[in-house]
């Protein structure tokens, strides 16, 4: 509005920010949420655990954190680290862990509930087992994966997954 016959403009003041105490606390909390989200705190992350026993080496990569209704996989690598072939290795997932998720799917397919047999592992051979899961219940879900060879050796790994609502 530049004309001399225009409405007068508003007077100027020194502009400052003023927040009440509660408001400031609330605003800081609100600002923290996207900041933490950008840092990946609320996003999916995975963890890897390893264990060895006589002749068996097992590594599990599993979702450490993910969100409701997301689908992720537990990837298990089983290796014959000994010098003798192994006839059979059984991978058993803890039902207490698996049943916290919906639509669990094992590859290769299980022959008994949540148990997958792996046969004829030559020395140095590695087999992969996949467990696909969908987050259904909020909170932390924990359970073990037990890998047992036909020779009687066994390895146990702990899985712990946090599901955000």
């Amino acid at each position: 509005m530049a004309s001399h016959d225009d409405p007068p403009e508003a007077p100027r003041i020194e502009r400052k920010l003023r927040f009440g105490r509660l408001q400031a606390v609330g605003l800081l909390t609100m600002l923290a949420i996207p900041t933490l989200a950008l840092a990946g705190v609320f996003g999916a992350s995975s963890a890897t655990v390893r264990a060895d026993a006589a002749g068996i080496s097992v590594e599990a990569t599993y979702p450490e954190r993910f969100r409701y209704k997301e689908i992720h996989r537990v990837l298990l690598r089983v290796r014959n680290s000994g010098s003798e072939p192994i006839d059979t290795v059984e991978v058993a997932f803890d039902p207490a862990y698996v049943l916290r998720f919906s639509t669990p799917r094992l590859i290769p397919a299980a022959t008994r509930p949540f148990r997958v047999p792996l046969t004829d592992l030559e020395p140095g051979a590695e087999r992969i087992v996949l467990l696909e899961i969908q987050a259904e219940r909020y909170g932390r879900h924990e359970g073990d994966v037990l890998v047992t060879s036909s020779r009687g050796d066994s390895v146990s790994l702990r899985l712990s997954t946090l599901v955000f609502p």
Partner: protein, 162 residues
Amino acid sequence: METVVRVAAFYLLILLGLRLLGKRDMSQMSPFDLVTLLLIPELVSQAVLREDFSATNAVVALATLFTLVLVTSTLSHMSSRAEMLIASSPTVLVRHGRLLEGPMNRERIAPSEIYGEMHKAGLYDLRQVRWAILESDGKISFIAEERGRDHPGKEPEEATVL
């Protein structure tokens, strides 16, 4: 390409439907306002939230939106330059009973719109208007001429500003 056609088709369909319903049912907002307010959230929400149905995602999205609003309002308050960029400055559309064509064309305001808002302000003649101002929020304010001048006007205490 298909997106453009579908958005255009639904825009026209909703606009037509709202026009057929008549002004009485849509008295608070214009059909254009309704269409854009109805369609924009629908178009944007899927792109923003994607397939993530978790409450965590919704909370993060909301907090991000509120944070952006806070940042925008703070910037606007602390810097007059930012304020001009974010919220446009008011525009005078009528001065002493005369329509200003340049500003009206720039803001795409028709004389009928000004007359409609004048009537709501209790004015019936353009000569009663000292200033008609298109404010930053899109509303039109009227400052009536003072009585006793050459122009017919309202009593100063009756002057109405929208």
